[in-house]
Symmetry: C2
Subunit: 287 residues, 2 copies
């Protein structure tokens, strides 16, 4: 199971944290970083996240038994196209992207037979960005969603599962289509809402904001480029989620307009009841 | 400045926490609780939040130099109507309500000359409810918004300011109108969004939710009755906030529909920049 040489394409918060975790948890495994900026590679080398760093893709993946795509989602297709001719049969490829349909499809198209691709979405990270925020325990206890298809090799799937579990992750499996649909609701829509909520504020209102507002808008500080890629890549689902949200807000708006006290209360209690059940279901320590 | 007998009307999380804080911080002050449910009064007595508890309003406010309305917002007008004939000149009245126009107006109408009313909105609390969650440090470090009008007695205002500062609160002053308009944006709209966001989820999606989703929806677990009162009382502003929010979401929806990568990025970066500036402005320890 154990990889001997892991190649991390894109050494930011997520890629750097994988490197640190691998060094803590897999003995004798070399971690290679790939990126365009020498300064980033140097920072990753210095922090101990990677053992070697290259701005040449061919050198970065040579001899790797596991390649992990950690760039923004929008670069995945181009990267897979370049990787295709470079990878030896038996190489395992996975990723950390927040959308899954497009990369699974591109991998099927662009990677040669004998190179196995497994779509992964480790649900870890923060609104921070860059290898300087990388942490060896970033993935510990978080959920990793694997998105096999009917064509997926079970042995390759097991290896990727083993890898994320070694980093402390809980695993679940859904199809790429289901992943993208559900993530639009639980992740991409919330990001859009947080951003829009910040934008409707007048500056002076912020001084009157409490902890609830801070909690609701924290994710809006996330990187615009990363999120642009995610929202565009998953835009059919995200637009459907936005429309569903509008439907609910219109409902409340109408109830308030009618001054329907009982119905407003029922609307709020429906939400509160669901949130309480979710809290039990999520069983988090922070709740 | 120091009150000798404080009457707390409604002994829940907020009222009970005032009682505990007063006992910690003002020596020799008697705290009287008023409520309909004997069990709640008994719990408040046992926890040390109040020294005496009555289900009779007349007895509860007799001899009080400070009366604090801590019931849901929807009960304020009725309570002020009952209080009018009961209060001696010189009594100071304030509240902890999340809306301010209606109570300030009702107090002006229903309280006799010589009884001073100051609208207060201490921005503390949680999605929990009930005196069993009361804490003596609930108000410590949080913001209290005072909403004087041109008719407000400055001496009374100073006393109320002194009181909340003694409980550890930071103070700011805005008009009741400005309060309700700004709070619709930074508090009431976020609550509506959190509730709607929970409601658009399918159950199975929840298992894929991360910390961002939990943070964004936590406040939706709040009490339906309390929030019904707030949203209805402030419905003109809340509806305007919902419309502004819809406008922003429609904007994003259109940009995604057009696949306008640059504009989507600019939209997200605008929000991220604002959120980062807010974080500096809020200068909270939790950020």
């Amino acid at each position: 199971m154990q990889p001997h040489r892991i190649s991390i394409l894109g050494v930011g918060l997520l890629g750097g944290s994988i490197g640190l975790a691998v060094h803590e948890r897999i003995k004798g495994c070399t971690v290679v970083g790939y990126g365009h900026k020498r300064a980033t590679l140097d920072a990753a080398l210095q922090s101990g996240a990677i053992d070697e760093g290259y701005d040449d893709l061919s050198r970065a993946v040579r001899g790797a038994d596991l390649v992990i795509l950690c760039t923004p989602v929008g670069l995945f297709r181009g990267l897979l196209g370049e990787l295709g001719p470079l990878l030896a049969p038996g190489t395992l490829v996975t990723d950390v992207g927040s959308t899954k349909r497009s990369i699974v499809e591109a991998a099927g198209e662009l990677l040669p037979a004998g190179v196995q691709f497994i779509g992964s979405h480790p649900m870890a990270g923060s609104e921070k960005r860059g290898v300087q925020f990388a942490r060896g325990d970033l993935y510990d206890g978080a959920l990793c969603i694997l998105t096999p298809t009917p064509d997926t090799d079970e042995g390759a799937l097991e290896k990727v599962r083993w890898f994320w579990e070694l980093l402390g992750m809980r695993i679940c499996r859904v199809s790429p289509e289901e992943h993208d649909r559900r993530l639009a609701d639980v992740s991409h829509l919330p990001h859009a809402l947080a951003a829009a909520l910040v934008m409707v504020q007048e500056e002076a209102s912020i001084d009157l904001a409490g902890k609830g507002f801070q909690d609701m808008t924290r994710i809006a500080a996330g990187d615009g480029g990363l999120w642009r890629d995610i929202l565009l890549d998953n835009r059919d689902n995200v637009r459907a989620s936005i429309r569903a949200m509008r439907g609910r807000l219109d409902e409340l708006d109408a109830l308030l307009g009618a001054g329907d006290s009982q119905a407003v209360k029922a609307w709020l209690e429906d939400a509160a009841g669901r949130r309480q059940r979710l809290a039990e279901r999520m069983r988090t320590t922070s709740e």
